[in-house]
Symmetry: C2
Subunit: 238 residues, 2 copies
DNA sequence: CTCGTTAATTTTGTCGACAATAAAGGGTGA
DNA sequence: TCACCCTTTATTGTCGACAAAATTAACGAG
């Protein structure tokens, strides 16, 4: 038991380290902080979808100059979280059915590729660690704590994306579209019966990766994402 | 004959319009112009791969303020053409074998998807126009003018990408990685025997799209890109 | 002569002010 | 009342100057 616990702790620590290496290179500027804060506010819906972003307003709100707000907004545009028009301003993207469809078409393709690559590129150690993460999720699901499932799911997908070892792919997904995916999930209210079935899907994906079976891993990941999308599409209708 | 010529002209005009709609929404700021100029200089190798970008230097060179240069550099970072480190500066990316592999893995997946979607989403008119473009390329190839082949190839791929009708996909490819692809092509010196075989591959892809055969279109596009990559990889070794 | 430390210089990050553009409001004529 | 034009207002684009950080150079100790 103590071994299992220590493994889980190690897993958590490693995960935090991996995220830090990706997200936070040593020097953090004000623009970085503003970017992250504003991004969170948008994903969480504190700044409503479709609303206009006033540079002056934000600069007073976050107590920084307009220049850093502008840089933050520019980066948000790269994430597809806001849309800018010259001499007009920036608006938070709207959550539409078409947008969801297009986003998930791309996500399915990219994460399918990530799973395929991960099946050949991940080290045995990383795969073992992924199994540990799955076990820790099983504990959580069993005890009925669905609250952290969303974060856990993000963690799971992160591992596989990083496991692809393709820096372009990693950047596109992590810096590119993942926050938009989270935005749909958070604002459409993810919870409910899918968490347990999703766990089974995760398990099968990990098995395919453990067996070094790229084609199966890709197919299972694509289906997993298709299911997720259908689930989201339902919520978007209402 | 006059009909064929007029069709070709129409094709060229339409193509220019499509590009303008994508690239240039009416108001163009100085930041836009600087971004485009600097991007071209990087792609063409005027600013060498791997070199450092000095904000002050560029601001004097392009006769704009540092703020404008900074915005341009930020956008170039989104295109994966430069890499920035806080408090240090921006460097033009280096052209490496690993980078080429990773880039083309992503490109194969995304453009494969584009071809698949285009087979179902393009209108009959757009497909007819694509065939016209192919004919015009045939004329060019037959007369031995390989100079414009690179631009023609870019045109061809653009059409299919736009034909996917998936805005996320379009943005990722056109604004995202396509200039980096061009950078590899230009700086490794694309020309030579592959232009004619590439033409045949283009022809087969268009046939698959005309037959509304998504799976075949994707497979042919993926292979076409694989061939291109092998060709580039050879040049990179020398 | 080499290494480590400190001072000088260069470069990036941040700020507030001004200019240019677009949106909002008021007025006139039909 | 509606449409159009002009004026006013607010917002974004651009600039130069200052602050902070990193790089380079100078210096001295071993």
């Amino acid at each position: 038991m103590s071994l299992a616990v220590s493994l889980l702790r190690l897993s958590t620590i490693l995960n935090a380290m991996v995220l830090n290496v990706l997200v936070a290179e040593q020097p953090i500027t004000n623009a970085d902080k503003t970017f992250v804060r504003l991004r969170n506010d948008i994903v969480e819906g504190v700044v409503p979808a479709g609303s206009k972003l006033s540079e002056m307003e934000l600069s007073t709100k976050y107590a920084v100059s307009r220049a850093v707000v502008r840089e933050a907004i520019n980066r948000l545009e790269s994430c597809h979280l806001v849309e800018r028009k010259a001499n007009v301003g920036a608006k938070v993207v709207a959550l539409t059915e078409q947008g969801l469809n297009e986003l998930y078409q791309v996500r399915e393709s990219l994460e399918g590729m990530a799973a395929r690559l991960a099946a050949t590129q991940m080290t045995d150690l990383e795969i073992a660690d992924l199994n540990d993460l799955l076990s820790s999720h099983f504990q959580t699901v069993k005890t009925g704590e669905t609250y952290y499932q969303e974060a856990g799911d993000v963690d799971f997908h992160y591992r596989i994306i990083l496991g692809s070892k393709n820096n372009h792919l990693i950047t596109m997904l992590v810096d590119g579209i993942y926050h938009l995916i989270r935005m749909y999930r958070v604002q459409l209210g993810m919870a409910g019966p899918r968490v347990t079935t999703a766990f089974d899907e995760h398990k099968h994906i990990v098995q395919a990766i453990s067996n070094r079976d790229p084609e199966l891993a890709e197919m299972l990941m694509r289906r997993h994402i298709q299911y997720t999308k259908k689930n989201l599409a339902k919520k978007l209708e209402s």
